[in-house]
Symmetry: D2
Subunit: 329 residues, 4 copies
Amino acid sequence: MEYKSNIKFSTILSSFGNQADRFCQSGYKSSKTIEEMFILAKKVEDLSGLELVGNWHVNEENIDLIKKYKNEYSFEISCIVIDLFTQAKWQKGSFSNKDNNIRKQAIEEVKKYMDIAKILDCSLIDIWLGQDGYDYSFQTDYIKSWNMIIEGISECAGYREDVKIGLEYKIKEPRTHCFISTIGKTLLLIEKINRKNLGVLVDVGHALYSYENMAETVSLCKLFGNKLFHIHLNDNYRLWDDDMMVGSVHIVEYLELMYWLKAINYDGWYSIDIYPFREDGVGATNESIKWIKELQNIISTVDEKEIEEVINSEDSIKSSSLIRKMLFR
Amino acid sequence: MEYKSNIKFSTILSSFGNQADRFCQSGYKSSKTIEEMFILAKKVEDLSGLELVGNWHVNEENIDLIKKYKNEYSFEISCIVIDLFTQAKWQKGSFSNKDNNIRKQAIEEVKKYMDIAKILDCSLIDIWLGQDGYDYSFQTDYIKSWNMIIEGISECAGYREDVKIGLEYKIKEPRTHCFISTIGKTLLLIEKINRKNLGVLVDVGHALYSYENMAETVSLCKLFGNKLFHIHLNDNYRLWDDDMMVGSVHIVEYLELMYWLKAINYDGWYSIDIYPFREDGVGATNESIKWIKELQNIISTVDEKEIEEVINSEDSIKSSSLIRKMLFR
Amino acid sequence: MEYKSNIKFSTILSSFGNQADRFCQSGYKSSKTIEEMFILAKKVEDLSGLELVGNWHVNEENIDLIKKYKNEYSFEISCIVIDLFTQAKWQKGSFSNKDNNIRKQAIEEVKKYMDIAKILDCSLIDIWLGQDGYDYSFQTDYIKSWNMIIEGISECAGYREDVKIGLEYKIKEPRTHCFISTIGKTLLLIEKINRKNLGVLVDVGHALYSYENMAETVSLCKLFGNKLFHIHLNDNYRLWDDDMMVGSVHIVEYLELMYWLKAINYDGWYSIDIYPFREDGVGATNESIKWIKELQNIISTVDEKEIEEVINSEDSIKSSSLIRKMLFR
Amino acid sequence: MEYKSNIKFSTILSSFGNQADRFCQSGYKSSKTIEEMFILAKKVEDLSGLELVGNWHVNEENIDLIKKYKNEYSFEISCIVIDLFTQAKWQKGSFSNKDNNIRKQAIEEVKKYMDIAKILDCSLIDIWLGQDGYDYSFQTDYIKSWNMIIEGISECAGYREDVKIGLEYKIKEPRTHCFISTIGKTLLLIEKINRKNLGVLVDVGHALYSYENMAETVSLCKLFGNKLFHIHLNDNYRLWDDDMMVGSVHIVEYLELMYWLKAINYDGWYSIDIYPFREDGVGATNESIKWIKELQNIISTVDEKEIEEVINSEDSIKSSSLIRKMLFR
């Protein structure tokens, strides 16, 4: 199998660690050191990038060590996910926290990691506001909260322009309702703040369980300012962020996504973001990459004109026939 | 029971007609003439406005008759819903139809009804693009479609500034995916087109089954340009547009909605938009209005400061306690 | 492409007619006569069976004509769907209707069509209780309703043992809640009534949007009395009964379904049950059958032992790898 | 406020501890000792029962201590939840684990806790098979797994008849698909095993997010053998097991549930089962109980005949009117 060779694969480092949930709090596996996780990552074929989560993987203290591992195991750091969600202090929000002190800490955390990113030759951070939201009715002032988020992100984006901020939306979890929940709201916010280094980080699983079509989602990023900065790949059953391996459920929509990523000239990372609770992390990442390559391979070998013609016909029988032909060559 | 007397209730005229679905195509009731529907509407307590659907209820031919009924039965026309969805010709979209001819017809239809609205002393039309979307993968060019919608709505908004356009979003049905699907996308589009007479028509049922919180949704309309032009009220089980009577399921969230409509100084219609398939239309509308009044009554009698304090505490136990107190006085 | 030749394909006749929904009540196409629909059905490759809906397609009056068409166009009648849902009189239920008179009519309707089935050399009827349910809280006495359904179905099953009854469950639509809603409830009812000629008609789309796994569903039919009598094939996005073409979304789960249908020795019809609102009926049925053949073809050529080994390992990385291998041979 | 005094309230002990999720693994609060949790439980008004989770709260070692606390703080133990889900060893199932050794351990675990229950004067255990299910396609042999579950539960039920087993179903989490997922499947299994001491433990949140109506669910338990053994009370947004305070969302359906629990003569515990991640456990439990009392109070003071008449009319306008009247007296 050949494939479009210029695609760069990345994954989140935590896939090689231990996964816990609220019922099995000690996790389904055993804990790993950072270096053990780098060693496991090395076993994945065609993986050249790693995403790190702030505090979980990288912090001010261990930055030299991370730099060493990164070089020693020859990985690029594709993205740093800012920790605004793993500590109890963020439980009522980070940027939208009504406690000024916490809110300032959140902004400082982002700035600190923008600097750390540069040290690690990484030019992208991920702001995911998972704890910023609400669970119950009459629990928050929506306007105040949104204004705080706008303000906070503006300040971060203005901090240094050489680091890009990918804003990652998610409709729920850990809050029952997150503020930055859909592609529409995310692009609206970005349009409002209007900073060159501020764009979207699309986690396709989050798109799927907001009933978005992944291909439309990335197309809208293109249309509204060429704002697709990064992409997280995984799969789910559309009702929850199951964070399953790529290829588990949505083959057809994934195939369409591959086509549109190409059509909009996306040239960023293809970054796996899964939660292999009961699976071997290396195996699960390998599988995810293999599925993407298969689908990529199809898209890069089928005549583009033919696909365009089918799309422009808006005839779903032709679409079905094309997909069959592409899958079962 | 007393209630905030300045609220104006409206309903969609079709509630008094016959409701059909794909299984019982002849409908669960018998057909009614337009006048019969006006007469039934008159039986609803405290109803002062009617929404009409283009072609179903009003058209170039019967406009004088409608004007006569409107005066005779003393109703205001709160809104005209443009028919871009009841005819087979719209099946692959109106504004985003790839057939130039159909697309032009869609724009002409809107303009025509903007004129008709003025004749009926109505200053608001509803553009709901229910047929503009897609059902299958590889069935549409998202960027092309969105551009066509932006263009079409721009042209309509520019046609005459004395008629307001409420853009009504809906996540699906009749298409499995509609383009204008969530509050985020709607506000993004409105921000992009940037016309004073273009705003949002929030159907709260559509909000609910996109997993939006209704109160947050209307608050965002306020925040992003004071754009809440009109509101459709109904209820559902959050997975489909069941168009049930107000008060059927989401009492708590409705109560919160009432608070926020007041807080953002919404002064438009409270317009019932239900589908009483198996219910008497007069009774179902009456019930819906009575529920709203009860909830309004609570909000207008509880001390505003107390509600604000609870909200600002972000303590959901206080929220729960407040809601209990409000409901079970 | 070769495929397991003993599979018999059937489809519902209405796919060749006009499809309407609540917004476009006159339908997206033009009406067809019964014979026109038979002629269109004839254009579908490898189609040997037709499902008829009572009253819509067949009734006491036109039975000779139907018999003539059936022979002339050489189709078998795979199943007759009893009309307990297309007329306003069923709006508050058929078997569970609190009006004795309507309830008796429902039972008579079934018996009449059991006789008609035999005349058409068809040994299976479909009882789908789409109107038996409720929409609101405090709207029905659940125990009374369930008892009536048990009684009614018992009586029908006892009427003549040479006609099988496939009980088709569906979680909602047209009611917001149907009584016979999931595979569990259906098998429970069947266990309770305990009649040899009473079994399950699994509409896989209904299974999907009840969050069932189709393969588990048919396996349970096997386990609890070998009760899979018939199967309706279509696809959807898991939140509504979209009745799309097979192959639109759930390729992986469909592949697994094909494996389990073989494993449990299902030897009934593979019956397409789609709603091609905006699609050519012949084309949409053709596509559905072609997808099934492709998937069947895979299952019948892969080494059964290999699949069993993967399944028994319960290692989802092996599952993923197997599926990749099967799809991208 | 007065209320039906014979209702006994219980809650799960973990509500007074620390709640963690996959993102904030150290939890949103601080850890508590067992005694600290008993002391907190004592602060809840009208609470007389506690549910314990095996291993988390009670085990062979600390049983005397638990007995001491129970007496000292005068609580009854309403139920013991068997730990078949908190340890990594159960990750691929307990009763349906393909490793004989693990499967035996699961059965032994249940028996052990049946004995422990009796020591604590508790006559009910909860078997919740949260880890028994599957995440991916081609990952399990459904028939084999179900047979193992049937066998295992049979053996446990036969172990000692003086301890009742409440089988608790849940559609997903921690697996993406659990075997014992809906009320239908649960009753089917119970019917099949047919043991006097085997019944259903309905967690109403699990019912809600399987799109069940809670009132219908408990009614079916009555109808199929009077099998409602215990009930877990909480609330959610119908798409996930949010485990929120009672009264947060589904007031109307909860009111109906209270009516039907009375109608079917349910005389067991009203047991709160919430996850107050960010809430004070005492406050959240107090609120839940207060909501139930309010709703109970309504049901016990409204004329039963009137409710029956409305239900028997099957007229949802009357239902709506009744609910309004009950809530806003």
